[in-house]
Point group: D2
Chain length 359, copies 4
């Protein structure tokens, strides 16, 4: 949100915003000035305080944070605590009502719900996930049927809003919710924003494939601190995240090399993640060779512009009448919906095609 | 040559051979068994001795070298000293005559000349380079008008052979020679085989571009030993090579970042080159980030299968009636002919298109 | 053993042998030609086959292996299966008898037992570990009281042999065994040969300490294949090894930084381990900085000369009348016995002092 | 200066100050509160502005800079333009007079001159460098006889001040100036502060030596921006710096490995230097192995506390009656005066010995 304010005020260039590139810039997409922000959160810290913390962490420039503080204070009014009902059905209704209200008060054409919460553990299976009528009924019971990301998707679809999941959580990836999306005529996209190490994998793995080099092993160490790191220090979210990060290799190479990617919490690294990967491969006549890389990036800084991109693209798709999953947005995700290519260049082509079709 | 022998004998998989991938495998291409090898060299060392040296250097497996020795001994008969005439015209005529003879004796459909010699310094300009009639005439004089790579291209075209340049030398990149190629109805391709560090650049640079991340600097250190390294320790070949390696950044990013790539000779590294690159970039709101990678590969082992690929592709293009430069082969080169994309994925698409068109 | 044979035959320089450095070369140490090898193993593979495997893995030069094969065949006679008695006391007696017999047949002055077996899990505590008389008695029972390394140490001391442990296993590190060593007048040393990543830590950590730079985190990824790697893929040996590798930081810095070292099995890496470490530190006024390093080494090749060194040094210490632990050998170990410095330079000084005292 | 102010005010811990370590903390050294700062510079930018620039560059924390601004403004009065006389003798006299005046006004016990200016090219030899009487005379001529660092050393000694050179410039390293220091009874130290990559070399090279591993090559790339980097982009200072950086290898290993260290200017890196080193070495039986490391540090932040340390130590040495070079300060320098060890641990021992002797 700080970035959107800064961009509107001309305080920064839209570096990192993919929809600002010539090939994707289109009148079919809402402009940055057309976006109105709101949200639900479990933390009550005001946006201004969070922005200051990010400045201290070296993520945002201090001067910029100072400049956008008034706007952030105004935005705080639209960020409220996640509501809680007696049943999940009631909770969903409260969320949907809030979405309706938000849309009405700001006279919005449409609303895109974007999940940027901490990674959940994988959802426990439930028979109600299989069909929408079963789900409607089960949600009225006392037990929790859906994990939070899925409950929010349910509420979004109910309120006629699209849904994008930037996390590896379950989100709308249940048959009942897919059904609801089609029923309500809304699109959705996801999963797990691809910002750093996996972004690099998504271009390097196809490189080996295109040159018929055999990747024998691909090992990785991901070290990070901050809130994201602390969350991923827990085994279940850690496993969900690691699984998501591994897909790209098998999908682009066509086989699964030896080795694993590990995620570890090192508080001192704060908001800047360091990822180290070692790739061993063989070439002609079996000559063993290796490539290693070290990525030192700030996930928040890399994700923020992509969140703005996804909102604009999904809103445009919704407006153009698209319903159901948007596989053309695979470019943004480590674990994309649909049967899609995992090489970044192929995903880029699909994204360009989407935008051209929207115009 | 050792590799081709090994592949034919079923002693190795065609790892590293791009034309063996499903997307490029085509009956339009000559099979590996259809290739007959010959050549000119300035070194008289028998192929068997060179193969043993490569085994000692860890490039070729010892057992494989032992197995292919008889075939290599046979191939030696077709590798002869580079001829020398009183004038460059005479030298060219001797080369062309040798090509004719080679084609006739082996009853070949066509011949592809492949330059894999040491990098030359940039050619001194000469007015005869501009037009073919001027060139024919100048070559009959006493002075050297063409560098060796260009003289060989001249001879190849004269003899109706195609020409591929795996080096950054001048080769056929003179107007007079382009004219000759068209006149004789032969195709040509090049320049500077893309095997290692630049291969990685050709996928990473487009990645930054696709994500609208601003690359501020891209610095590199290339360390290598062996004959290639010793040659590149000399300033003029070093400059020619470095210039070739830098094109990909400006072409894919659309701007030239700060920083340089340096090539240095370190004898102990032998045939295995280590390249280290540091990329600094900024994202949204100017957050500074970095990526560095270390490539440890054997250029000979990476180049050999691409040489086989290029021979097969160029022969097929010649057979299909193509004349002049083959920009669709940019996939193989750091400094490709023609006005072509420099991102590897786009080059791959062009190559696939070429093969489909040949079938 | 292959190395010792090669050195005696003048086929190789004693690179990696610390006792061949001027500061440590001493007539007080037995010469390489004075060493006679024997051993117990659980694998029956002949030494010649193992040497060939190491040549294939790129650890030993092929030509050297060919040259030493006759000697290795002769050495095989002295490598026998680990004996097994009805009780641990019987097993120990069989081992001790074998040691006696070995000493007598070869007319040796003394015998050094060197543990180079796979890392065991940490020993389950047992009350008999606390005192020698309890231990003698418990060993005569049916249950296993000592892990293999400790049973071998017990047998060694019983037979009047010194004991060196190159692994992180328990070995002689039990009060009862310390008692036995003193009783029998023999010295012992250990634990866990320091060959690669920890060697580098043992000079880098003191560097940060000497400059009063504050190390905030030190994280590491150790990737290896081969038999050692496969063994360390099991949780218990993995934990024992990781604990040993972490001591050096706390001991040299005086505090424990954030971060962990992980060991992972990647079969393709074979005998060559790759270790990557990331160190984040702050300097004056809190400026955050970082150092990372990548170590690519062959543990067997690094360990072998140190094994020869330790045999020579321990034999000399035994001859000079030393009994009990030899803390001056800390230079060789990640988890050294005694209250010793962990910085490599200080350990070097202690080792030089030991050799000077022996002369 | 900002750091000293911050430390006195209790705004920061003395991280990076070696004289604050227990082994070196001594009442023989002046306290930080006892230091008075002054200087000559060629740039007129006020200290407060420079501190702000360093805060923008991420070197100094913004809040700290704000806190020390009043003190920096006061210090500005004592930083003045470098004077210029008609001859070098006159210039030296003006500098010496300024030093006298500074000492008198602040009632100081002694003054330490610290050279932290940009690296000069190597001095052109001059016969007057050989003897003091020749030098006195030559300086009265019109031509420049001494480079700036040496003229300042001359002035310092003339005024009875000690001299420390944190740069690789010539400084007092001329026979005539050594003579003058002894004549005036003052000590001096230098050269070229050892803060980053060479610091790491000074512990790693001895590590290879202690383990009798043969270092085959040691190559390095040093990339930096800022004023230091721009200066080192010029060939002559670059060569002077590179020569200084190479000494440590030959001195600690006893031989010069293949490879070079290159210094390159990359503006984007600003005040943070990235150094990458690749070491290839062989062990027992010739097994080839490698170690590479990447250092990412801020030279200013690393140098500042060492400058404070050197001032305190040199002042204490002067007070204790030491004259001439202080080889025990080699711990701080890449190119230390005197015949000294180059391994950091040995240098540390000498430094501890110096402080113990001063007490």
């Amino acid at each position: 949100m700080a970035g959107a304010v800064a961009l509107r005020a001309g305080l920064a260039e839209p570096t990192g915003c993919v929809t600002e590139l010539p090939q994707l810039h289109s009148p079919a997409l809402p402009g940055l000035a057309d976006l109105v922000f709101g949200g639900h959160d479990v933390i009550a810290t005001p946006l201004s305080k969070r922005a200051e913390a990010l400045a201290d962490a070296g993520v945002l420039p201090g001067r910029l944070v100072t400049a956008v503080q008034p706007d952030l204070a105004a935005l705080d009014a639209e960020v409220r605590p996640a509501p809680r009902g007696a049943t999940q059905a009631e909770t969903a209704a409260l969320i949907a009502a809030d979405l309706d209200d938000f849309r009405r008060r700001h006279e919005l054409g449409r609303v895109v719900m974007m999940n940027v919460a901490s990674t959940e553990a994988a959802a426990a299976p439930h028979e109600a996930h299989a069909a929408l009528d079963l789900l409607h009924k089960a949600l009225r019971g006392d037990a929790a049927v859906l994990p939070p990301s899925s409950l929010y998707a349910y509420a979004a679809f109910t309120a006629g809003c699209s849904y994008v999941d930037f996390t590896p959580s379950t989100g709308a990836r249940l048959p009942a919710l897919a059904q609801l999306a089609y029923e309500r005529g809304v699109p959705y996209a996801g999963h797990d924003g691809k910002t750093g190490e996996t972004l690099v994998k998504s271009v390097l793995a196809p490189m080996f494939a295109m040159r018929n080099l055999h990747v024998r092993s691909w090992s990785g160490a991901n070290l990070l601190g901050g809130g994201d790191g602390a969350n991923l220090a827990q085994p279940a979210p850690n496993a969900a995240k690691a699984a998501s990060k591994q897909r790209v290799l098998a999908e682009t190479l066509g086989y699964q090399p030896q080795g694993d990617t590990r995620i570890e919490y090192v508080a001192d690294l704060g908001e800047f993640k360091t990822a180290w990967d070692l790739v061993t491969f063989t070439g002609f006549l079996g000559t063993p060779m290796r490539l290693d890389f070290t990525w030192h990036g700030c996930d928040s800084a890399l994700a923020a512009p992509l969140v703005l991109d996804l909102v604009r693209l999904t809103a445009a798709a919704h407006r153009a009448g698209r319903t159901g999953p948007l596989p053309e947005l695979a470019f943004f995700f480590k674990d994309p919906l649909g049967d899609v290519p995992h090489g970044l260049a192929a995903q880029w082509d699909a994204l360009v095609g989407l935008v051209e079709g929207l115009a």
